[in-house]
Symmetry: C2
């Protein structure tokens, strides 16, 4: 496995890199961003993976997420994968919520998506193996977070990999995709018509089916246009209450779905992860 | 004078707005970003204007500058103007360093630029009057900063408006445009062939000609590709030394010309301005 360095900038005393590599999982070229804090010069550092939302690439949170200052202070690396395969020869759809930029962190089984849309395998296996081999990361101390579709990704990846992540958080996550329009469009397209196949990619269903995490932090803006129709944090709260999962759900007054919301609470999330990754 | 709100987001407890208005100075529609800290709900707040560099609009620093957290902590508003007039009917050039995105904060006297390229009047008169009339800003407590071409703008605007700004800083500024390729291309195009006309838009020349500021803060990355050919902070240092201007010139090891450099030191600049604006 090799990769090329697309960009490398000193930032907040650490290094913000952008890298490209040939991906077996998605059958094409994939780009990711990785921030190494200054502490990585002296040894391995914990890793927090941030999964992005619809329409985003690795670049949106790298540009607008304001994570580097807190990551440098706490000595934590931040990994920002893309949200789908891209490029010529990769299937796409004119809609913003299907196809390129909208991989939903699943391995597609349906045409025309199946050949390339394997973001589940990419973010859970291929990309972690690649970065563990090339960067000073302590993969025994990992956290995961994400925004919207990426919050869905963070929750489902963590719920299905017990013990891998010491800390799990999300910004305005899609908590029950099978019950809202975004998932009800994407899941049949990627996974087929049988709703039973969707449950392993639905955080609330996974909890109902017995998956467990010790605790979860979720921030949700109250002025988020998608709150009632697509996000429904109350479903996660009910599921966590029944399952005995310690969910900290913070409703943030007046914040919307944009990176202005994410960047406002990013340092708080990184501090929350740091407390668990460094203890 | 009226304006329309293009975007408005709660961010770090304050409000990040993007506004558009018809501009008399540039004879067209202009867009700017203004961040109001939470303290602006209770009364007028000090203002720091950030002038952007080549190729940028109001959006680059709004997206990547990481100024909101520090501005909210210190209770300071941040104004981010565009770098030139834009749109159909506005002259342009294929190069990145002339025309749209490259107004150099001058009032052009030459064809084809003169009708619209009046960024000096725009940022020193029209835009301050507009925002003072519509937002809770204490215009008696102003600071100014900027990056590269915008650092040039900040220094020249401050030097030519004694008493208007209590605090002046810059990130990797063009300190002597008349002596480097960027200015030697833009100034003849905008101001004509006579170098005597350029001196009023050249910070080092202005200081040589008697303009004074009490103090200036400049950060400059040592890995900046433009350091030796275009930026030449040593010329500003020599001029300030001779003039008795208290220049704090910080050479930041390993930082380049990108927003990764700017965002790393933004909080330090805002703190520096705050100390002077709030005393």
């Amino acid at each position: 496995m090799t990769f090329e360095t697309v960009e490398l900038h000193k930032a907040h005393e650490g290094l913000q890199g952008v890298y490209r590599h040939a991906s077996t999982a998605t059958g094409g070229s994939m780009t990711f961003a990785l921030y190494l804090p200054p502490q990585a010069r002296a040894g391995k550092v914990p890793l927090v993976t941030y999964l992005s939302g619809l329409t985003c690439s690795h670049a949106n949170v790298m540009d607008k997420g304001e994570y580097r200052k807190a990551a440098a202070e706490h000595g934590i690396a931040i990994l920002c994968p893309d949200t789908s395969p891209r490029g010529e020869g990769v299937a796409n759809d004119d809609a913003y919520d299907l196809g390129q930029g909208a991989g939903f962190y699943v391995d597609a089984t349906q045409a025309p998506w199946a050949p390339h849309f394997n973001m589940w395998t990419y973010v859970t296996e291929e990309l972690p193996a690649l970065i563990a081999a090339h960067f000073p990361l302590d993969m025994s101390r990992q956290g995961i977070t994400g925004h919207s579709m990426g919050g869905h990704g963070a929750l489902t990846v963590a719920l299905r990999h017990p013990g891998r992540f010491r800390s799990v958080s999300a910004f305005a996550p899609i908590v029950a995709p099978a019950r809202v329009p975004w998932g009800q469009k994407a899941f049949p397209a990627y996974l087929g018509a049988d709703p039973a196949k969707w449950r392993r990619h639905d955080a609330v269903a996974l909890i109902e089916d017995g998956a467990r995490l010790a605790e979860i932090l979720v921030d949700q803006g109250t002025a988020d246009n998608f709150l009632e129709g697509q996000l429904k944090p109350e479903l996660l709260k009910a599921a966590c209450d029944r399952a005995g999962i310690d969910l900290t759900l913070r409703l943030q007054e007046g914040y919307d779905h944009s990176y202005h919301f994410i960047s406002t609470f990013m340092a708080s999330h990184i501090g929350w992860h740091a407390m668990r990754l460094k203890s």
